[in-house]
C-alpha cells in the first residue's frame, strides 16, 4: 500500500500526460482497489494497481490459533466463496494428518462447493454487467443468489460466513428436506441462466463493450500467473477439478468451458458456461448422494456428536481435550490447491508437530490475476479499464488477506 502523503507512486513521464487516481473508494473497483492511471487524453499510457487497503494479517493470526480455529478465518479471506476456502484449508490439514474422509462428507462438500461457485459467479455477473452499464442483470442475479444464501443458511446457520466444513468432515447433518430444496433450485436454475444470456450474450451494446477488449494471449496469461476462467478465456485448458481431482471430483462428469479469444467477452462466456456445468454437478451429487457418516472416524481430531458427549465418558474427554488443547498435527508441510471460482486457490500449511499451525499461507488467485491488468489496459481507453477489472473478477479480501 502506497502511503497517500508520500511521493506519488507514478509520475508522469511527459508533459502531455496526467495522473488519474481511481479508488480506493470507487464503485467499479469491487472493494478497495486503488488504481493509478497515467492518461493521455482518454488513452491509458500506464496503469498501476495499488493494494493493501484491506490487509488484516490473517496469515499471522492463523499462527496463534488451533488448527480448528482457523476455519472461520478462512471464510473471511474470500467472502464470496467461503466454502471453497473452508474446503481448501480442511483438505490441506487432512492431508497433513493423513485422514480419510467418508464419501458422504466428500459429496456434500462437492455439492456445496458448486453452489458456492454459482453464488460467486452470480455476484460477479451482476456487478460486472452493472459496471458496463447493464443495470437489470444485477437484480436478476441477486434474486437467484438469495435462494443460494437461504440454502447455506439452512445447512450451516449462516448466510455468508458459513464455516461449515470442518477438519475431518462437515459440521452437521443437513436438515430434513434440504436435498429437495436444492433439487428444486437446480431444476429451476438453467432457465435463469438463459434469462441472463438473453439480456447479455446477444446484446449489441454488451458485445461492443466486451469483444476485443482487454485481450490477453495464452503465453502472457501463463507468464503472469493467471488461473481459472481468466486463463481458460485465453484458451489454456486446465481445471484443477478435472486435472488434479480432490474431494471426490473424479466421480463427476462435467465439461471445462474454454474460449480462445482472450478478451472480456471470452471470459464472460467461460463463466456463464461454468454456471451451467456447476448446476449439472449439483444434479449429479443429488442423484448419487451416498449414505453413511459425515465425519471421519478420528476421535482425537473430530468433535464427538452432542448426544454421545452427554452420555459417554470417553466422548466427553475427547471433546474437552480438543476444545482446550487442540490436536497435534504431525510435522510436515502441504500445498493444497483447489479450483476456486476465481482460479487456483492454494493453502500452504506448515506444521511443527504442535496444535497450532507454524505457518499458513494462502495463494490468492486474484493477486496473481490482478497482475494482468497493465497488460490488458495499456494503450486502451479508460472505460475499458472498468470492463477489464470486472472481467478478472477480483475480491480484495483475498488479495490483501
Amino acid at each position: 500500500m502506497a502511503h497517500l502523503t508520500s511521493t506519488p507512486v507514478l509520475e508522469p513521464v511527459q508533459d502531455r500526460t496526467m495522473i488519474l487516481n481511481m479508488g480506493p473508494q470507487h464503485p467499479s473497483t469491487h472493494g478497495v482497489l486503488r488504481v493509478l492511471l497515467e492518461i493521455d487524453g482518454e488513452t491509458v499510457v500506464r496503469i498501476m494497481p495499488d493494494i493493501g487497503y484491506l490487509h488484516t494479517g490473517i496469515e499471522k493470526t492463523c499462527e496463534a490459533k488451533f488448527y480448528q480455529q482457523v476455519v472461520p478465518l478462512t471464510d473471511r479471506i474470500d467472502y464470496l466463496c467461503p466454502m471453497t476456502n473452508n474446503l481448501c484449508y480442511a483438505l490441506a490439514v487432512e492431508k497433513l494428518l493423513g485422514l480419510e474422509i467418508p464419501p458422504k462428507a466428500q459429496w456434500l462438500r462437492v455439492l456445496l462447493n458448486e453452489l458456492t461457485r454459482i453464488n460467486s459467479h452470480l455476484v460477479w455477473l451482476g456487478t460486472h454487467a452493472m459496471d458496463i452499464g447493464a443495470l437489470t442483470v444485477f437484480l436478476y442475479c441477486f434474486r437467484e443468489r438469495e435462494d443460494i444464501l437461504r440454502l447455506f443458511e439452512a445447512v450451516s446457520g449462516q448466510r455468508m460466513m458459513t464455516s461449515y466444513f470442518r477438519i475431518g468432515g462437515v459440521a452437521l447433518e443437513p436438515p430434513l428436506g434440504f436435498f429437495e430444496r436444492v433439487r428444486e433450485f437446480a431444476n429451476r436454475f438453467p432457465s435463469k441462466v438463459d434469462e441472463y444470456e438473453n439480456l447479455l450474450t446477444g446484446n449489441p451494446i454488451w458485445v461492443m463493450r466486451t469483444k476485443g477488449v482487454a485481450r490477453i494471449s495464452a503465453e502472457d496469461a501463463i507468464a503472469l500467473g493467471a488461473s481459472g476462467p481468466t486463463l481458460r478465456g485465453s484458451g489454456v485448458d486446465i481445471d484443477l477439478r478435472r486435472d488434479m481431482p480432490y474431494s471426490g471430483y473424479e466421480n463427476f462428469k462435467f465439461k471445462v468451458p474454454i474460449a480462445q479469444e482472450g478478451d472480456v467477452f471470452a471470459r464472460y462466456i467461460c463463466r456463464v458456461q461454468e454456471l451451467r456445468e456447476s448446476i449439472a454437478i449439483v444434479q449429479q451429487t443429488l442423484d448419487g448422494m451416498p449414505e453413511g457418516p459425515i465425519k471421519a472416524d478420528a476421535p482425537k481430531v473430530v468433535l464427538p456428536d452432542r448426544e454421545k458427549m452427554k452420555t459417554q465418558m470417553e466422548a466427553l474427554i475427547y471433546h474437552f481435550k480438543i476444545i482446550t488443547e487442540g490436536f497435534a498435527v504431525p510435522a510436515g508441510e502441504v500445498y493444497q490447491a483447489v479450483e476456486s471460482p476465481r482460479g487456483e486457490m492454494g493453502y500452504y500449511v506448515v506444521s511443527d508437530g504442535t496444535a497450532k499451525p507454524y505457518r499458513v499461507h494462502m495463494r490468492s488467485a486474484c493477486l496473481a490475476n490482478l497482475q494482468l491488468l497493465p497488460k490488458m489496459c495499456e494503450g486502451r481507453l479508460i472505460a475499458d479499464v472498468v470492463a477489464a477489472i470486472g472481467s478478472i473478477d477480483i475480491v480484495l479480501g483475498e488479495i490483501d488477506r
Binding site: M1, S6, G52, G57, E59, A223, L224, G225, Y348
Partner: protein, 165 residues
C-alpha cells in the same frame, strides 16, 4: 491411511524428472530433496535459483511452465533462518514441484525470478514486505500490503504480536 515416512535420500529420488533435470545441469545446485505426503520438495542453492527456475520452465520432458506461488517460512531462532518457497506447476503434465532456498539471518537476499516468470512480481514483493527478504534484480521492490512507512516485517516470528509498537 497412516502416513508414510518422508523420503529424504537424494539417491532414491533421482528418478523424479525435476531432480534429474537439475542434476544433469549442475549437481552442486541441488542441496537435497524430500518426498513427503505425495509432494516433492527440492532444496536449491541460493545462487542457482534463477537459473534452476529457467531450466525447469524450459525442460522439454516435463516443463514446469507455471509459477503458482512464492512464499517464505521463518524458522527463528534456528539457522539458516528463512526458507523461500516456490511452488511450480506443469500445465501440460499436471505435476507440481516445490523449490526451497535456505537463507541466513544477516541481510537475507537472493536473485529474483521475475525474469523467468513476470508473475513472481507481486509474490516477491509480498515476501519482501512481510519477511524483509531482498530480491536482487526485481523491477519494483516496494512494500505491497503494509503502508510504505511501516517499520518491521510482520510475518517474522520475532515480530511482536501485542503491545505498543
Amino acid at each position: 491411511m497412516p502416513l508414510a515416512p518422508a523420503i529424504t535420500d537424494l539417491e532414491q529420488l533421482k528418478e523424479h524428472p525435476a531432480i534429474a533435470c537439475l542434476r544433469a545441469w549442475n549437481s552442486a545446485a541441488v542441496a537435497g530433496a524430500k518426498f513427503d505426503r505425495e509432494e516433492i520438495s527440492i532444496f536449491i542453492e541460493r545462487s542457482a535459483i534463477r537459473e534452476a527456475c529457467a531450466l525447469l520452465r524450459d525442460d522439454p520432458a516435463c516443463p514446469f511452465n507455471y509459477l503458482s506461488d512464492v512464499t517464505c517460512v521463518d524458522w527463528y531462532p534456528s539457522e539458516p533462518r528463512f526458507e523461500v518457497i516456490y511452488h511450480l506447476l506443469s500445465i501440460p503434465k499436471k505435476e507440481r514441484v516445490r523449490l526451497k532456498v535456505r537463507l541466513g539471518n544477516d541481510s537475507p537476499a537472493l536473485e529474483s525470478v521475475t525474469a523467468v516468470w513476470p508473475s513472481a512480481n507481486y509474490f516477491e514483493r509480498e515476501v519482501f514486505d512481510l519477511f524483509g527478504i531482498h530480491f536482487t534484480g526485481h523491477p519494483y521492490l516496494r512494500r505491497i500490503q503494509m503502508p510504505e512507512n511501516w517499520e518491521g516485517h510482520p510475518l517474522r516470528k520475532d515480530y511482536p504480536v501485542e503491545g505498543y509498537r
